[in-house]
C-alpha cells in the first residue's frame, strides 16, 4: 500500500533549515540519475547501510570535530566502517549538528543494524553486509568525500559482495 499525496520533505524542519535546504537544492543542476537494475531478488541480496551521522567505532579514530570548530565551513571528509554486529555501546556519534544521545537512545532509529539482522533471520534479505559505513553529513565542500571516500567505500562494499545500499540521511 502506498501513500498517494505529495511528499512534504520539510515537514519536520525548522524555518531556517528549510530555507537552507531549499537554497542548496536550487543550486543543483539536473543531471543523469544513475541506475543499476537489481541483480538478484531481495531475499538473496547482501545489504549495507550508509549513515551521514559521523558514526565511528569506540576503538576507531574519531572524526575531526576540532577541525570544524576551528573552521565551521569545513567538515571531516573521511568515513568509517562499522561491522554488522556493532551495538550502541560500541560506537560514538561525532556529527556536531546532531545530539550524540541518539546512539544511547536507540541506534536503530537512524542506523538499523539490529533490524537488518532480524530481516536476515526472517529471510527477507539474504544477509547483512559484513561492514556498514558512516561519514559526516554536513559537507559544504564535498570534493574529497566524493573523490576519495565514496570510491573507497564502494571498493570495500564490492569486496564484501554487497548488492543493495540503503543511504540514511540525518
Amino acid at each position: 500500500m502506498l501513500k498517494t499525496e505529495q511528499v512534504d520533505s520539510y515537514r519536520f524542519l525548522d524555518r531556517t533549515t528549510k530555507k537552507l535546504v531549499e537554497s542548496w537544492t536550487e543550486l543543483e543542476t539536473p543531471r543523469e540519475i544513475p541506475w543499476t537494475p537489481l541483480s538478484k531478488p531481495l531475499e538473496e541480496s547482501t545489504v549495507a547501510l550508509i549513515s551521514s551521522t559521523g558514526l565511528a567505532l569506540e576503538t576507531d579514530h574519531p572524526f575531526d570535530q576540532d577541525g570544524e570548530r576551528k573552521n565551521p565551513w569545513w567538515s571531516d571528509p573521511s568515513y568509517r566502517a562499522i561491522p554488522y554486529s556493532a551495538r550502541a555501546e560500541d560506537v560514538n556519534l561525532y556529527h556536531l549538528h546532531v545530539h550524540p544521545r541518539l546512539v544511547e537512545q536507540d541506534l536503530n532509529t537512524f542506523f538499523p543494524l539490529q533490524r537488518l539482522l532480524e530481516l536476515e533471520v526472517r529471510g527477507v534479505i539474504g544477509r547483512s553486509a559484513a561492514n556498514h559505513y558512516s561519514y559526516m553529513g554536513y559537507t559544504l565542500q564535498p570534493q574529497i568525500l566524493l573523490d576519495v571516500s565514496v570510491p573507497a567505500m564502494i571498493q570495500q562494499m564490492q569486496q564484501d559482495g554487497v548488492n543493495i545500499v540503503v543511504l540514511i540521511p540525518v
Binding site: 520533505s9 530555507k19 576551528k70 571528509p77 549538528h97 537512524f110 530481516l119 573507497a152 540521511p169
Partner: protein, 107 residues
Amino acid sequence: MSVPRLAAIEYPLGFLLGRPDDQVGQSAVLHSTLSALSEIKWPGGVVHLPFEWPQSARRLNANPPQMPPIVKYLLRHPWHIPNLLSRDIPDSQLQELPSQLAYDIRG
C-alpha cells in the same frame, strides 16, 4: 540531484526508521524501504512510505546540545549568511581549511 530510488517518509531526521525502542515500527519501515527497490522501475522514482509520525512523539528531535559551529559563526558574522545559502565559502575561510589531501581518509 537525486538518488536512483527514493523511499520517502515524513519522519523527523534522526528518527527516519521510527521512535526509540519501537522495534516493530522500525522493522516495518526498513522492510518497506527495501521493498521499494523492486517497486521503483525508473531512475529517480519515489515511493511514499505509508507511515504517519505519531502525535505523541511530536517533541522528539535530534537537535544537538550546543549550537553547531557554523551557527555560532554566523551569529557573529551575519553578513556571511548569503555565503552559506549559496555554498560560496568566504575567501578568508577557504584559506583556513585544513589540509584535506593530507587527511587520513581510511575507513
